[in-house]
Symmetry: C2
DNA sequence: CTGAAAGCGCTTACAG
DNA sequence: CTGAAAGCGCTTACAG
């Protein structure tokens, strides 16, 4: 095949002219249309020429005609979240299997940016959107609009006051599992250290955690509950100190990074882990395995959630009128940091 | 604005009809064309109606007409490479600033998949492609073709026998810096532990490392050089053992993950780090800071490389006939694992 | 100063 | 059984 320039305009026209047939006949042959009754010879000639000229249908023209772009928008809320890379990877793979491609965007937990991205993707005519919503609080009106107009959208978490479909990790269950585990290990003065308070996923972890305590006849002391409103390590360190001074003997941290900062601070203050202090994280990231004292953590089943989410999104794109609210339980990974017994 | 369905067809036609003017006039007004001399009143009416009907130009139609899609394809070679997330993040941000959006794909170092992705992106009419090439060895014919036809492509590393433009980390310099540092710290029996041999980026690290030794009157013993042909930790562990048995007192590992596996093995075998054994990694990833003994590493300047790469790609897209082969020196980050002195 | 027309590259009925 | 025509939603010359 010869392609001299970036333009490959009129290839079909050229073929039609050379073979002295109509353009639409060329298209019919190239598309292997059943209702095309051209002779085998002609068909072969057309196909040969097309191959020689390096013909490929113009995807944009097809998109315009069909009203489908074969494109999915993926919006994440945080580049450095443990889940981001995995979700991106699985979405890309699954989509590509069905000849979709994915546009990528990150809202950085900024609702304004999130709304802009949503609009941009929508007006670029993506066929569907998968979104990990930004912090709650500010309502995303455009997201709601998309849901109302039944545009194919799926979320990785539920969204407060919107009837959006989702396939989410069951964060409540995650928190519950964490609380239960710490109690089983014999810890008594349990604490909670959270960042990114405004996130539903974090809120649910906390609720599940509290429930586990209540179900086991304990309750969490307010002085042992701390939500840091930022991701800055300094703030998390300061929070860690306050929790330790409040006399916790075990802490559930919203994610592994927070857990590690807490662990460092605790060791600095002379705490023995796991004997005097238990620590459990969330996400089961690389650092959980690699850090000073291997960290007990809660692992989200990203492959499964993303797979289910994609499946539902695909159905919606294909016009099925489904509704899908799914929660998938995460998994406890026990390591050194909580092995008191 | 009211948008009842996903379709918003004929909005312009509706406006034209209601106001009893020509469709092209509506377009002219909506596009604020200078050569449009409609009355202010009419202009306002049109714009008001458009806003009410929630009109947005169809990006696909514009793409088809203009022959530009406002789209960039990003192909990475390894989802778990330390560079991937950062490159994606910077590309997405930079592109969005210029109203581009990015399609994402990963070749998993598979040349066949890489070629497919390249073709898919090309035939989806992306305006340009940024690629982190897969392992060398198999030549990517389509990539070469793109380069030859002057399609806008930029690579994150140079590519063996192709005249492709790139903005790359200077891996040779990285290797050199690593070797020099270990020597300065007083280590003498230096070794090299590599994975992903077939990659240019790894090869260059090794060459730079060797050069540093030669320049300082040493040389590397073959028994202390090991290329593991896989990413499997078992293989890397086995390799680590062999290197240690060969009597190395310092090792340069191709990346931090390899370095950590090596570190674990060394500690298991009773080596004192950094007194008896120095370890230096590459990438300066999170785990380098968080691990048992903080790891000395070489940090790539991803923001800078991606920025320069994007700038060049943009120029190409805009039709400038530039050529751009750039290498950016990485940076030594000294931590505990090499502090012998 | 406006608006009818051609065209971007396809697909899909629909005449002949 | 083929091919001319209309149309997807825009833009860009070019008549009037």
């Amino acid at each position: 095949m010869t392609m001299k320039t970036c333009k490959q305009a009129n290839v079909v026209e050229q073929i039609a002219k050379r073979l002295n047939i109509a353009i639409s006949t060329v298209y019919a042959i190239l598309a292997d249309r059943k209702s095309c009754y051209a002779s085998q010879g002609l068909k072969q000639q057309v196909k040969k020429l097309a191959a020689e000229l390096g013909y490929r249908p113009n995807y944009i023209a097809i998109s315009l005609k069909k009203g489908k772009t074969g494109t999915i928008g993926l919006i994440v809320s945080d580049m450095h979240a443990e889940t981001t890379l995995a979700r991106l990877e699985h979405m890309t793979k699954l989509a590509r299997n069905d000849r979709y491609h994915v546009f990528f965007g990150c809202s950085y937990n900024n609702p304004v940016l999130e709304e802009e991205l949503l609009e941009e993707f929508f007006y670029r005519r993506v066929d569907g959107i998968a979104i990990a919503p930004a912090k709650k609080g500010v309502e995303n009106r455009f997201l709601r609009k998309l849901v109302e107009m039944r545009f194919p959208v799926m979320s990785f978490t539920r969204v407060g006051n919107t009837d959006i479909d989702y396939v989410s990790t069951d964060y409540f269950a995650g928190g519950y599992i964490a609380g239960e585990h710490l109690l089983k290990m014999g810890y008594e003065r349990l604490g909670f250290l959270g960042s990114e308070i405004a996130t539903i996923a974090v809120e649910e972890r906390f609720e599940g955690f509290k429930r586990a305590l209540v179900d086991n006849g304990c309750r969490i002391d307010d002085s042992r509950t701390l939500f840091v409103d930022t991701d800055a390590s300094i703030a998390i360190e300061a929070g860690s100190k306050r929790l330790l001074e409040a006399g916790v003997d075990a802490v559930f941290c919203t994610n592994d990074r927070v857990a590690l900062i807490f662990m460092r601070k605790a060791m600095e203050m002379g705490k023995k882990i796991p004997q005097e202090l238990g620590i459990i994280g969330f996400d089961d990231s690389d650092i959980a395995r690699m850090c000073l004292i291997p960290l007990t953590s809660i692992r989200q089943k990203i492959a499964e959630t993303t797979g289910q989410l994609y499946a539902a999104l695909k159905k919606k794109i294909q016009g099925e009128k489904i509704s899908c609210k799914l929660r998938i339980k995460p998994q406890l990974i026990v390591r050194e940091s909580t092995k008191r017994r």
